[in-house]
Amino acid sequence: MGYSGFTKEGGVDTSSYLVGSWSEILAVKNSTNYYIGNTPEGVLEVSKEYYQHEDTSFPRRVDLVVPIRTGMRFTGVVEEIHGQNVSWLLGQTLATNSNYIYVGALAQSYYFTFRGRRIRVSDGEQIEFCIWKCLINSLFSLGSGDEAQGSPVEVTGLDDTNGDYGGSATAPLGYILVPDKA
């Protein structure tokens, strides 16, 4: 006699399937929203690394798993190539007012808050993420082709336990908002 808990074959809550992309992406600095535009191939990652301790039995077995590193990251492609986005992709200000964006000089790190949103089609609810304190850590690369050419972007979250950018001890990196079903 097998386990009696097997009672729901296949999809359990099919309305929870998520289709589509992160459809709205913005960076926030000093309470101003800067709309980044389309980011095809946008991926939100929450990474974790673990240390696995093994006991002294033979064969040795894992007897302890300890998280030792965690991070938030967003990668994608920025399609809208204008002054604000190029400056930002180069790790500089979002509030650029110059047509020239200089490259190569030593500059202070430019921190910002990063937010994204997508729609759960089954009930129209919005799923969001927020990374409180971020830095750009991608190269800038602009290619050629018949389709809209964008530059890759990688945004990495930093610890904001002290709340400079909205974080806290309970949400030092950021959050993911997944609302109850409507």
């Binding site: 074959e9 296949g10 999809g11 809550d13 099919t14 309305s15 929870s16 399937y17 289709v19 589509g20 729609i119 089609v121 089954s122 009930d123 129209g124 079903k181 409507a182």
Partner: protein
């Protein structure tokens, strides 16, 4: 095992009709034929036919809905529609009514009082994956003095997008 209400083609068809009826802001006050095979358009100047071409939604496939917009080029309509303006306006209004992520599915067991089925949506998504856009939008040849434009939409349920080869419920 009974098919869940949200996957029944009958509910899908009536939900599509309901969506169009509730959201179609018609600038021409055209007659809309919701799948009535006895519909007689001989005395009409401008009208819309809605047809369901296939029934794949909720069956790991896609439902194709076609809106045929007809306008008499030189009929009894005042001024006629020689340049197809009325035709285009009507097609645009239909396009607007379908410019949504998904169409809510209702349970029409009691047709007069449909019951909203929570979480059941027919996604408006064309073959290229773009939401809210038609699969095709074509102007067809004028026949017997009647111009025709045809919009086709591809609808599928959220569960049809599952990567699993099959699903059960």
């Amino acid at each position: 095992m009974a098919i869940p209400e949200r996957r029944k083609s009958d509910n899908h068809i009536l939900s599509i009709y309901k969506h169009v009826k509730d959201n179609f802001a018609d600038p021409q006050s055209a007659d809309v034929n919701y799948g009535d095979v006895t519909f007689d358009a001989s005395s009409l100047d401008i009208w819309v036919d809605i047809s369901i071409l296939s029934h794949g939604a909720g069956r790991k496939g896609e439902t194709l809905v076609q809106f045929d917009v007809y306008s008499r080029v030189r009929g009894p309509m005042p001024g006629g529609d020689e340049y197809g303006e009325a035709l285009s306006q009507l097609a645009d209004a239909l396009y607007e009514s379908m410019h949504v992520d998904g169409i809510q599915v209702y349970d029409f067991t009691v047709p007069a009082s449909p019951v909203l089925l929570s979480g059941a949506k027919l996604m408006v998504q064309n073959g290229g994956g773009t939401f809210r856009e038609p699969e095709s939008d074509q102007t067809l040849d004028i026949e017997d003095g009647v111009a025709r434009r045809s919009l086709t939409y591809r609808l599928r349920m959220v569960e049809d997008a599952s990567r699993a080869f099959s699903y059960y419920d």
